[in-house]
Amino acid sequence: MAVDEKQLTEDILRLAATDVRRCMQCGRCSANCPEGFKMDLLPHRVMWDLNSGHASELLEADAPWQCLSCMACEERCPRGVSPARVMEALRLLQIRQQGNNKLPAESVEHYPSDMPQQLLVAAFRKYNK
């Protein structure tokens, strides 16, 4: 099925609520990202794809599932853009579809007994709906 790139871009931007067009591709977000070296697409590349009509590629990317929402990219962006919010939008577009949870509870084999609730709630909220 052909993806309507324009519609998809609009959906992502609406959920992200950050002005991606201000991005100047300096790469500071990627340099600051603690997960950058594990990402298949670095944050500044995600911004680039979004600005150049390649939004559908982003739904295939693993990068949003590596993002820690630590806000380093947003805090340190010299242009006031929040790649973290775009990552959140990319996650939501996927997990809001039924049967698309990324970390179903039954897939987690072992919970250490001292693991805090805060961690469990956070993880299941980020990866599931």
């Binding site: 806000m71 805090p116 805060q118």
Partner: protein, 267 residues
Amino acid sequence: MIYNYYPGCTLSTKAKQLDMAARRCAEVLGFPLVELPEWQCCGAVYPMAPDAIAERLSAVRALVAARENGGVLVTLCSACYHVIKRVNHDMATNAEIRQKVNNYLQLEEPYAGETRVLHYLEVLRDEIGWEKLAQLVSHPLKERRVGAYYGCLLLRPGAVLALDDVESPTVMEAFIKALGAEPVIYSMRNECCGGYLALKDKAQCEKLVSDIKNNAASCGAQELVTACPLCAYNLTANGAAGSLPTRYFTELLAEALGVAESEGGAE
């Protein structure tokens, strides 16, 4: 002033040390914490999407309860502070979110971000003051080199949380100093511990935490303090075993004030 207190899910269970020490010290320091009679989990992560209304409700309920009882809400856990303060900011500045949340809650008086959200550290800094705290210390933590681990949730985004300078924070170092210990400043004190990734990719947390601990140790830290139960868990479960014990900042406070009782540490 009434210090309404929102403990959050983890402080009632896995992070009791953080909670108990804080309550006892607050009594000694003259700002007894009054736990909200009813509260729900804040959700642990801030809902960034503007259309995520349901995810904001529990934070708003706590904020409204605090508004009805003096207007101040104190939190201890970095995640609760982060979520509740950001949702409060949304309620004050985002008309659409405000309207939708109020339509749902049907309050007698609509909520528009009136409550002041304070972290316990802010109360110590701004209401008690470091000088007075230092005077009240009966068991100074002499010759201890303590690294403050801020993590990410306590400081960012700086424009909303406004707890401290996001890149060069001083609040926890000033706290450590007031307790008689020596604060150790290291560059990774505000970098992420891996957070919720611990459930999906433990090896990755291991790497991030090792980097943080190695950095702190190389700068001379002998122990770390944090305000976040998730950071405490990751910092304890990862990195070289036995290296750099991590404790909650309130445990050190209780120790220095001489109100530590038989409960063990967070090791």
